[in-house]
Symmetry: C2
Amino acid sequence: MARKETITIEMILETAFAMTREEGFSNVTARKVAAKAGCSTQPIFRVYKNMDELWNAVYEKAASFFQDYYSLYPRMGKAPFTNLGMAYIAFAREEKHLFELLFVNEGSGIGKKSMYELLNGKEGNVVYEINLAKAAGCEEPQDLFMKMWIFIHGAACMSLTGDYDLTDVQTQELLENCYRDFASGNNR
Amino acid sequence: MARKETITIEMILETAFAMTREEGFSNVTARKVAAKAGCSTQPIFRVYKNMDELWNAVYEKAASFFQDYYSLYPRMGKAPFTNLGMAYIAFAREEKHLFELLFVNEGSGIGKKSMYELLNGKEGNVVYEINLAKAAGCEEPQDLFMKMWIFIHGAACMSLTGDYDLTDVQTQELLENCYRDFASGNNR
DNA sequence: CGTTCCATATAACACTTGTTATTTTACAAG
DNA sequence: CTTGTAAAATAACAAGTGTTATATGGAACG
């Protein structure tokens, strides 16, 4: 009766997401996605109402990509918040463009999730780490999280501009020392 | 003999710089600058070879604006690096678009100065603070600067996304506590 | 006063963007 | 095989970009 579709919504989203990873979110334009997917711009607007819809889909995919990244990241840290922090910093280094999109405000109207929402995820990662700190005897774990996360976010952002280039092992030691410093200062 | 100029290079640069402050660097286009300056695009290309040249001039002006901002910022901090840090964080809050341009990588080819270069300035601000730390008995002042600056940069970047909203007074206390924690951990 | 020269304005070119109208094409049902 | 229908391609529109060619106009000198 009719022609069967050759370009699926998954192909388009996958292409746009790959382009975001490799070339940055601002390069995800209708024509460039079409070129990379080997088709015209028409299939894009068949499955997405407009580019905003595709951009939002890319953002959502990036968000869940980060969740998976953290889920699969090895847990080597010996202090609360260090595992989340190491994964975050490694993510900024390995996936610069995705990190920019998610945590540094790239798209204007795009990006509705807060940093906390992205970090906490479906598993309640932040809550889990805060409980760890509480169990370790920390009296003000939220305050400690705030301090730790300011530090961790700083390292991640500096890796974007080339001002932080420690290895994962060095980062682990740095974050563990940082936690120890903040924690002992906290109980003063 | 000839017509006298009505639109000077200073007017154009000042307009472009004001637009960067208010609307962000990416809004500095030839036509928008011309509109804001109340002229056509022609005077721009008389005094600047091309837009890249104007963009670089805006960047340079932003850099020296930051130097002045720090110079005029009140020195309330009681620990090394805190004055530089408080000014930096306030700058990120008060001049979001300039901060993005200088410290978060906005222009592609624009922005040659390193973070350290921008911070240190002509006065050697960083060196001065490191000497302060050394005088205060810190054995590894460079290491302390690194840690402090990761933290400070983190707070500044989080203020861009709305994830840091402490007052200047709160920031001062936070940074002083932070220095104390790092410094005591350092001598362990 | 007129002429000359240069600052400015206007208009255009070539390109990119999102989006849409139109045409082509492929596939399946009758 | 014809035909209908939807997918895809082509082409176009309107807006925006940097840049440049052309036209306008004002001011100072002779």
